[in-house]
C-alpha cells in the first residue's frame, strides 16, 4: 500500500507544477528603469521546475513500488469507490462542509448566530453517536458563542461581521 503514498501525490503534484509553469510563462515582464536581469519569472520557473522534477521522482518511485508489490503478491487491487470513501470518512467531509458553510454565511448572517450554529453542528460531528447529548451541546454552543462575541467585540474591540440582524 506504500506506493499509493508516492504515486497519487506524485501525479497530482506533476499536474500542478505543469499548470504553475504555464501560468509562470504568462507573467508580464518589466524592462523599464530599475529592472533586474532575472525578472519576475525566473524564481517561479526555478520553483516550478524543481517541483516538477521532484514529483516525477515520486511517480517513478510509486510505479517501482507498485510493480514490486505485484511481483510479491502483496498488491491489493482496490477499486476507487467514491461513495464508499466518503462514507468511510464522513466526519472529515462533514467537518469541511460545515466549516465552508460557516465561512460563507459569516458575513451575511453575522458572527453570533453562525458561530452558535457552527459550534453545535461541529461538536455533534466530533462526538460518537452513542455519546451525543443534544440539549447539553445546544446550551454549551450558545454559551460559548455569546462569550466569544462578548469578549472580542466588547472587551477587545475586534471587528467581527454583524450580519443582517445587526448582532
Amino acid at each position: 500500500m506504500e506506493y499509493k503514498k508516492n504515486l497519487f501525490p506524485g501525479i497530482v503534484l506533476t499536474i500542478f507544477s505543469i499548470i504553475y509553469l504555464v501560468l509562470t510563462s504568462q507573467i508580464k515582464k518589466f524592462s523599464g528603469l530599475g529592472s533586474d536581469p532575472l525578472g519576475a519569472r525566473a524564481i517561479p520557473y526555478l520553483w516550478g521546475i524543481s517541483l516538477l522534477v521532484l514529483s516525477i521522482i515520486l511517480v517513478v518511485r510509486g510505479i517501482k513500488q507498485r510493480t514490486e508489490a505485484i511481483k510479491n503478491n502483496t498488491y491489493i487491487k482496490t477499486q476507487l469507490n467514491i461513495a464508499n470513501t466518503i462514507k468511510e470518512n464522513r466526519e472529515i467531509v462533514m467537518t469541511f462542509v460545515s466549516l465552508a458553510i460557516y465561512i460563507a454565511l459569516l458575513e451575511p448572517v453575522g458572527f453570533l448566530i453562525m458561530t452558535a450554529i457552527y459550534l453545535f453542528v461541529q461538536t455533534l460531528i466530533l462526538t460518537p453517536k452513542e455519546k451525543r447529548n443534544y440539549i447539553v451541546t445546544f446550551i454549551t454552543s450558545i454559551v460559548i458563542a455569546v462569550a466569544l462575541d462578548y469578549v472580542f467585540v466588547c472587551l477587545l474591540n475586534v471587528l467581527l461581521p454583524l450580519g443582517i440582524f445587526g448582532f
Binding site: F8, P44, W47, L54, E107, T123, L126, F152
Partner: protein, 499 residues
C-alpha cells in the same frame, strides 16, 4: 532600553496577569496530546490584537514557554508526548511513573525545564545582539546565501525521505510567489483578484496548517477513540527529589540545554529533534548507558532541559534575522508583525524596549511556569480529561477570528480552510509541513536578494563578500554531510529489515 523594557513588563500589572494566563493556558495546551504550543499561540493571537505590543507579545511568549513545558505531564503520565518536544521524556519518565515515582519524574521535569529555559534565555540575551550587529552589515549577497543555507537545512530535517521534505519546502515557496513580485511589482498568479494581489499571509497559512488540520485529523478518529487512562492519584510534595540528585544532574542539564539552544538556532529544527539528540548524547556519554530507558532521572533531565533550551535558541534567529527556528516561532513572527515589531538586524535600534521586554517576559514566564506546575500539578492532570469534541470547535472559531481580525477580510478565512485542506492532503501523502513554513518565509527572501544581487553583480562583484562565500561553503558541507548520514541511516534500516 534595558530599563525601559524592564519597566514595560513589571510596571504594568496587566502584563503580569497576561503572562500568568498565558503560562497556564500554554501548560494545558502542551499537556493535552494533539494540542500544541503552536495551536495555543494561534488561538490567542486574536486576543492580543488590541493589546499594547508588550502586553500582546509577552502573552504569546508565555504561551510558548508554557506549551513546551506542559508536554512533560502527559509524556510521564500517559506515555504520549503532549507536544512533539517531549517525545524523549517518555523514554525514562514513563518507567519512573510505573515504578510509582511519577511525582519525582514530574518534579525533575519541571525544575529542569525551568533551568533549560533560563540557560536558553541567557544565551539569547548574549548572542542575539551580537548576531544582529553582524547581520546589520549584510547586503543582498549575504542574505541570499543565508536563505540558501537555511533552506539546505530542510535536507537535514526531512530525515529519510529527502524528496518529500524538499517538496514541502518548494510548495511553501510556491505559495509565497502569489501576489506582487519583489522589486518590479508584477502581478503573479493573481487571476485579476484584488485579494490575491496582497498574497497569502503567513498567519493564515499557519492557522490552516496547524489548527484546522488537527481538527480534521481528530474528525477522522471519532469512531475509533483511543482508550486513555490517567493516573490522577499523583501527589506532589515539594519538588519531589533530593538536593543530591539535583547536583548530580547539573552537568547533564547544562550540556542538554546547550544542545537545545544549538539546535534551536538552526532554522526549522524545533524541540522535537533537540530532545531526541540530547537524549542520545546524554546516553552515549553516561557512565551507565544501560540504565537509560529503565526509569532514571538522567533521561528526563536530558530531554526536558534540551526542549526548553530550544525556546531561547529558536528566538535568536527570529529576533536578529527574522528567520523562525520552528513552527511555534513562525507563529510568533506573525504575532510580532501584527504588533508592528519587525524582527531583523535593526530590531534592537527600532524596537529595543520591546526586545528587552521580551527577554524579561521570558524569564518571568519561566518562573511562573515552574511555580504553577509544582503547585497546581493536580489541576493540570485533571484538565487532561477535558473533552476534545467541545474544545476543538471553539478552537476553529478562534482561528477564524484570528484570520478575520488581522486585516478584516473574509478572504483570509477561506485561506484558512484551503490551507487546512492542503495540510490534511500533505499529511495523508506523508509530506512534512515544517519545511513548507520554512520555504514560505525563505522563498521570498531568497528571490528578493538574489534579484538585487543580480542588479549589483556588474558593479559590486560577489568576490568582495567573504560572508557570502562562507555561507555557501557551509551549505555545501551541511548538504554533503546530511546526505551521507541519511544514506547511512537508510542502509542501517535496510540491513535490519533484511535480517
Amino acid at each position: 532600553m534595558v530599563v525601559e523594557g524592564l519597566m514595560n513588563v513589571f510596571s504594568d500589572p496587566l502584563v503580569i496577569l497576561f503572562i500568568a494566563i498565558g503560562v497556564i493556558v500554554g501548560i494545558i495546551f502542551g499537556s493535552i496530546p494533539g494540542l500544541t504550543a503552536t495551536m495555543a499561540i494561534v488561538m490567542f493571537l486574536p486576543v492580543t490584537y488590541t493589546m499594547t505590543s508588550t502586553q500582546g507579545i509577552s502573552m504569546l511568549i508565555a504561551l510558548y514557554i508554557g506549551g513546551i513545558s506542559g508536554g512533560l505531564i502527559s509524556a510521564i503520565l500517559l506515555n504520549i508526548p503532549g507536544t512533539p518536544s517531549s517525545v524523549a521524556t517518555c523514554f525514562d519518565g514513563r518507567p519512573l511513573a510505573e515504578k510509582g515515582q511519577a511525582a519525582k519524574a514530574l518534579g525533575v521535569g519541571v525544575v529542569f525545564s525551568f533551568i533549560g529555559t533560563v540557560v536558553g534565555v541567557l544565551l539569547l540575551i548574549v548572542i542575539s545582539p551580537l548576531l544582529a550587529g553582524l547581520a546589520i552589515k549584510f547586503g543582498p549577497y549575504e542574505y541570499c546565501s543565508l536563505a540558501i543555507f537555511s533552506l539546505s537545512l530542510v535536507i537535514t530535517l526531512s530525515g529519510k525521505d529527502l524528496v518529500k521534505g524538499l517538496i514541502g519546502a518548494i510548495i511553501g515557496a510556491l505559495l509565497a510567489t502569489v501576489g506582487l513580485s519583489p522589486i518590479d511589482s508584477r502581478q503573479r498568479f493573481t487571476f485579476g483578484s484584488a485579494d490575491l494581489t496582497a498574497g497569502f499571509k503567513l498567519l493564515v497559512l499557519l492557522i490552516g496548517l496547524f489548527a484546522v488540520t488537527e481538527v480534521i485529523k481528530y474528525a477522522g478518529q471519532v469512531r475509533k477513540p483511543e482508550k486513555i487512562e490517567i493516573e490522577s492519584g499523583v501527589k506532589m510534595k515539594g519538588i519531589g527529589f533530593t538536593a543530591k540528585e539535583f547536583f548530580s544532574q547539573i552537568f547533564n542539564c547544562i550540556r542538554s540545554a546547550l544542545v537545545g539552544v544549538g539546535i534551536g538556532i538552526l532554522p526549522g529544527i524545533g524541540g522535537g529533534v533537540s530532545c531526541m539528540i540530547s537524549y542520545t548524547v546524554a546516553k552515549n556519554s553516561s557512565k551507565h548507558p544501560e540504565k537509560f530507558g529503565t526509569g532514571i532521572i538522567d533521561g528526563v533531565v536530558a530531554s526536558e532541559s534540551a526542549n526548553n533550551g530550544t525556546i531561547g535558541g529558536a528566538m535568536i534567529p527570529l529576533l536578529s534575522l527574522g528567520i523562525p527556528g520552528d513552527p511555534a516561532t513562525a507563529m510568533l513572527l506573525g504575532g510580532l508583525m501584527v504588533h508592528n515589531v519587525s524582527p531583523g538586524p535593526l530590531i534592537f535600534d527600532k524596537n529595543g524596549a520591546v526586545v528587552y521586554g521580551i527577554f524579561f517576559a521570558m524569564i518571568l514566564s519561566a518562573v511562573m511556569m515552574m511555580i504553577f506546575m509544582l503547585v497546581g500539578m493536580r489541576g493540570f492532570i485533571k484538565v487532561l480529561n477535558i473533552p476534545k469534541n467541545l474544545l476543538l470547535p471553539a478552537i476553529v472559531v478562534l482561528c477564524c477570528i484570528g484570520a478575520i481580525g488581522d486585516s478584516n477580510r473574509i478572504f483570509d478565512v477561506w485561506g484558512v480552510l484551503i490551507f487546512g485542506l492542503l495540510g490534511f492532503g500533505l499529511l495523508k501523502a506523508g509530506i512534512p509541513s515544517s519545511p513548507m513554513i520554512l520555504g514560505f518565509i525563505l522563498g521570498p527572501m531568497f528571490e528578493e536578494n538574489l534579484r538585487k544581487a543580480s542588479q549589483l553583480a556588474s558593479s559590486d562583484s560577489a568576490f568582495r563578500h567573504p560572508i557570502f562565500f562562507l555561507f555557501m561553503i557551509v551549505t555545501v558541507i551541511v548538504v554533503f554531510m546530511s546526505l551521507r548520514s541519511n544514506k547511512k541511516a537508510a542502509q542501517a534500516e535496510n540491513s535490519i529489515a533484511s535480517e
